[in-house]
Symmetry: C2
Subunit: 194 residues, 2 copies
Amino acid sequence: MKALEDRIREEGKILPGPVLKVSSFLNHQMDADFIMQLGAAIAEQYKGFRVTKILTIESSGIAIAVAAGAALHVPVLFAKKHLTSNVSGDLYQTVVHSYTHGTDYTVVVEREYLKADDKVLIVDDFLANGKAIEGLLDLIRQAGAEAAGAGIAIEKGFQEGGQKLRESGLPVYSLAIVDRMDENGIVFRGENSL
Amino acid sequence: MKALEDRIREEGKILPGPVLKVSSFLNHQMDADFIMQLGAAIAEQYKGFRVTKILTIESSGIAIAVAAGAALHVPVLFAKKHLTSNVSGDLYQTVVHSYTHGTDYTVVVEREYLKADDKVLIVDDFLANGKAIEGLLDLIRQAGAEAAGAGIAIEKGFQEGGQKLRESGLPVYSLAIVDRMDENGIVFRGENSL
């Protein structure tokens, strides 16, 4: 999606890691109009997939997931990273390793919101090593539901997550795939589709 | 907003606390179409307020804040509860006490996204004792910005937050105000506006 690539080139900052910081429009400050467009563009790729539910993970995936949900007119469920007093009842849970934070964390969804007859589209802001998405796939598996695919805003194409998930047969679509980023700038893979 | 009151009556569960659990459509599973309507209804109340930015707090406020931002065509900033490697640079930070979790936590926003010329609408899913909103007001004050008001989905009218904030002069608007909830059901204050 050219508009997203342009925005990343203009506003993205490359930090050690390497981390691509897009906090000006995607995941700290959020350009609401633009996020609605990103969600609609993801939804467009999966409109023939009979998606019944979108699944994301708190926090930075929520905005784009709701935008995609509004475009597909399906409910959006977000996996919670912390047990709170508002989470009760039977849960599906899985452990995700975060390379960014160097820790493992548990994510949960309440069983009543993920059913065996659901066809679930995963939506997230970033795909790098794919650990968060593997965790969400595990929740979908536990529910006996079917994964329709994973729609992502920005994929770090130089990390292995996207390739591994595609090789597993999951329909992965990323609005922008970064193949390289360093002091010379950012190189995108260019237009892609499912 | 009658549609929200109806939904709370149909799907809301009263847990000890008392906690009003609306995880089926508002803050775990989210009805994306409905959340867009809620955000638009909040935006409608503040359309004459020259709002330049919406501020919310992760995680459950993000969806409705983005919906309001899309209706007002302004950026949405969410205060982060945890320092992560993606938060860098100068921060405004404040401490919020959570009665729900019995702990204090720090919330931060990056200084570059909150400016002295901003007129900031706070949006959140719940208002009870008002501590989260007081924390967001503190961040706005630190930035030298102006608070345009607070637009809320569900206010617990039997707790003191809403009254205190209104008495302070802040334009607070809640789509649904619960005046009582117990084994006899839920009593709403009824239609209200700014």
